[in-house]
């Protein structure tokens, strides 16, 4: 049980993978577009957790100044903010036109 007791990089990666899967299930199965956007946030957060865990691992090899993973995590958070702003803008425009928040009713391009 030693691998259960000593927290390593792999533990964080497994947690990140679990969150990523939850986000993927949310994106693929939910109808409510707000919850789909929240699931995308879950996916981005899983990636961020992996990046910071890798940053810690990289610090163990190259010393405490190797913070590239954390810088990447900050860029991902910036992108998440931009994505949320644009996504919610699209959602408001969509709701104004169709009076619904279900993604499977967006079917104008379907044949």
């Amino acid at each position: 049980m030693d691998f259960m007791l000593h927290i390593t990089t792999l533990h964080y990666l497994v947690l990140g993978a679990a969150l990523f899967l939850l986000g993927v299930i949310g994106v693929l199965t939910r109808r409510n577009v707000v919850i789909v956007l929240m699931s995308i946030e879950l996916i981005l957060n899983a990636v961020n957790l992996n990046l910071v865990a890798f940053s810690r691992y990289w610090q163990g090899i190259h010393g405490p100044q190797a913070l590239h993973g954390q810088v990447f995590a900050i860029f991902v958070i910036t992108d998440a903010a931009a994505e949320a702003a644009v996504g919610l803008g699209i959602l408001i425009a969509f709701f104004r036109n169709k009076e619904t928040v279900n993604v499977d009713e967006v079917n104008l391009l379907k044949w």
Partner: protein
């Protein structure tokens, strides 16, 4: 090569790392499950905020205090407030009474399970008895973490991410304009 497990002078060794890791991991997983299963979008948003705060605590355990602060201020404080505003702006009473999962939910779960199998296959791969990511435990003081990140982002000589930082500010400008253009009724 810095020896793993070395404690520099002045750094506090962490206490009960295992317990807190599993506590926070369980909080995050339960919060994530609640996000994708609740009918009411406000409940989903609150569960997502719980997940994000637990993740900020995990960042602190990974010696990333600046990213933890950004996570709390920007994610839990900024983006989630935006979500809650939009949830209250649009009328979702009809959606609560309807079917919550779409017709392809079974295919979606099968695809996610295939992805999970891929993750398991990668993370259990061993070469010469070692996993791909061997243990890298080490304890660093976190006094100048923010300073070093600022050095990578802003400094003229060591800042290798300066250009990317400027591009990120441009991206945010584009996002602001895009959000206004899309959400406004008449430009």
């Amino acid at each position: 090569m810095i020896p793993t497990g070395a404690i520099p002078a002045g750094a506090n060794p962490p206490v009960a790392t295992t317990f807190f890791f599993y506590l926070l991991a369980a909080t995050m997983i339960i919060g994530g499950i609640l996000v994708i299963t609740r009918k009411n979008a406000v409940h989903s948003a609150l569960a997502l905020i719980t997940t994000l705060l637990a993740q900020a605590a995990l960042y602190l355990m990974l010696y990333a205090p600046f990213v933890a602060g950004v996570q709390i201020i920007l994610y839990a404080g900024g983006i989630m407030v935006l979500f809650l505003f939009v949830i209250m702006l649009i009328n979702m009473e009809r959606s609560v009474k309807e079917r919550q999962f779409n017709k392809q939910w079974l295919v979606g779960i099968v695809a996610a399970a295939a992805l999970g199998g891929l993750f398991i296959a990668v993370y259990t791969t061993t070469t010469k008895g070692k996993t791909l990511f061997p243990e890298g435990r080490l304890l660093y003081g976190e006094t100048d973490n923010t300073q070093k990140i600022a050095g990578l982002l802003f400094d003229l000589h060591t800042g290798q991410y300066m250009f990317a930082f400027e591009i990120a500010s441009l991206l945010l400008l584009v996002a602001i304009i895009g959000a206004v253009v899309m959400a406004k009724k008449r430009i």
